[in-house]
Assembly symmetry: C2
Homo-oligomer: 414 residues x 2
Amino acid sequence: MLEQYNCLIAQSGGPTAAINASLAGIISRALYYHTNGAKINRIYGSLHGIQGVLSETLIDLTDIFLSEPEKIETLKYSPSMYLGSCRYKLPDYTTESSDYTEICNILQKYQIKYFFYIGGNDSMDTVAKLSGYIKHICMDVKVIGIPKTIDNDLACTDHTPGFGSAAKYIATSLLEIAHDTSIYDLKSVVIAEIMGRNAGWLTAASALARNSYNTAPHLIYLPECPFSEQDFLSEVSKQLEQRNHVIIAVSEGIKDNNGNYISAKGSKKDKFGHVMLCGTGRVLEELVSEHFSCKVRSIELNVLQRSASHIASLTDINESFILGEQGVEQAISGKSGVMITSIRTSNFPYRIEYSVSSIDTIANLEKKVPRKWIHENGTDITEEFLEYLRPLILGEVPLHYKDGLPMYLSLKHI
Amino acid sequence: MLEQYNCLIAQSGGPTAAINASLAGIISRALYYHTNGAKINRIYGSLHGIQGVLSETLIDLTDIFLSEPEKIETLKYSPSMYLGSCRYKLPDYTTESSDYTEICNILQKYQIKYFFYIGGNDSMDTVAKLSGYIKHICMDVKVIGIPKTIDNDLACTDHTPGFGSAAKYIATSLLEIAHDTSIYDLKSVVIAEIMGRNAGWLTAASALARNSYNTAPHLIYLPECPFSEQDFLSEVSKQLEQRNHVIIAVSEGIKDNNGNYISAKGSKKDKFGHVMLCGTGRVLEELVSEHFSCKVRSIELNVLQRSASHIASLTDINESFILGEQGVEQAISGKSGVMITSIRTSNFPYRIEYSVSSIDTIANLEKKVPRKWIHENGTDITEEFLEYLRPLILGEVPLHYKDGLPMYLSLKHI
């Protein structure tokens, strides 16, 4: 009789339009091994990330997706996290090991051989710590990290799942905002506030809105460059001399020369110690109002930039699915304590290969926009950066609609 | 030799995803008469509504669309106003007639026989006054109003072009917000602020987000019912007892028992004397924060709800196109001082017929949500209202994409 193993999947961190595509990829590949060769027996999902393991709220996904395989396709195109999420930070196991003991008891109880954790920076911290502990106690569980974050700030990978879809939403919205703004024969300034705490990848993606008739956004401010109110007002003034409608893309996380957030609410912190931002666009709106007599509006591209699956990038969704499949392959081949990575081998035509990186070289690092990809005066991005961005938003998802709305998959009743 | 006439088209008021579809319908039908029988010779567009007539900034659209007919299709699916807009209120011609003299001089100079004005309440005021003056001076120009407003508040028509697309964007966004919100195992309240100064049609459309797994929005507040902070807090408290995630849809224009806007910035007024709103969601967010210890977020569905053509309703776009075509037919048949209207002759199956109403019965009136379509306690809408709404968001637009972004048409460089 062949030896049989179970696998466990969890999702963690903030939502993206692509994190369920990676889950679908894992389930799809695990079901293949379930059906052919029995290298995987049951496929468990933990509800609310690592917290679900600690509280033993696991569900058996095997039959759900085996009996209705078309659900894998619907899951692939569904926003946010099918299994729920958490923002739970594991302690250092050398000083506080009780969480680890509990997790390993559950893994043993459910005969888990492969543990897949889909998430961003903080989730890779969980993967690093847990895989370290498991190695330390010589337990035979392979722990694999699958990247995910709209922020595109994970090290060792060309780009992150979820980023391309968020970028497509942002660029499309900026283009539609440009159409909306340009109709009146009056001077106006519109400020679009885009997510990105410390890295400006998403805000830069707004430049993809430019086409044969649209030059907006006319100014782009990333957190990588210190923000000066005086320089900002001078740039806005120059722009208003050149055109009626000035459209500005600004990252929520821009800071002044002393490293203080421009945002008015820069003092609240989340569980990971990150400063929670809100209101950068509003602050700049007030600033422009005070200095110019034109119409001013700020628009916060809120949570829809991470959840608008109806305008997801097909390239992003397909790559995220493959990253999930690759996770299963790597786990079965014996890898642990690694994250699946994407390597761009060519830009014309665009080609991606998949690999792995040791989780220790990734966890808790933030990849920022290289300074050479930002114009010297800090108000625009370079052509080289645009060439990097362009392939990531290509393709539209083949969504099904019911009663005029996209058909998504949800495990829970909302 | 057949007598030849020219026509003039202008757009006015706030943007919608469907106002260019009506423009495309007018151009398409006018080109038919241009080519067959020569009842229309040149097709002019006025830039920035009635202001463009006053400033004689007219462009000849005939050859632009005759030489590239596929542009009509692209225009049909493009957001905002191809010809630009204005918010110019004509004075009463009995006391101040200089604007009217100027307009009529231009109409005469360009041999305009048919004038089509696409817009909402304020634009229909322009149609009423101008057609009244033209009748008064016995000039032979047919003035036709084509309805447009995301607000759905025009009298004498079943619904307005642009409303269905905005409703589809709002319902889709609410569904995606519900997915986004529900991932954490924590209590939370999300407040989505939706456009609608005095009528709650758009906010009500958020209820279309409900499906087999989603019951959000859990509370809906329309401007038609006076808003009580105490009742609101009591309803939120009840909801938080029943579920982890409470999602609330609120109109920007809700008012207290004394008619004062809940919005913090309720004191600025626009040119038509309308109070400009901003911040209702933020006010409620603060209120919930003060009284409950859960996570709270407010989301303003900003200008994208009127400009997101990428998720427009095909039903809305097709009907808007037909309204434009009908405008041409009615003008040629000799009608003037009328607005083209939609009459719902059946709901199962959904059927619309087109007619006209005298502009005097429409201008400056606001159609509100009937009280019988709102639950007694003012926090939800009825099934009858949902039956009215459902057909309006059906169908997806066959957009073309280039470089990952929707292909739209723009006359001006932005």
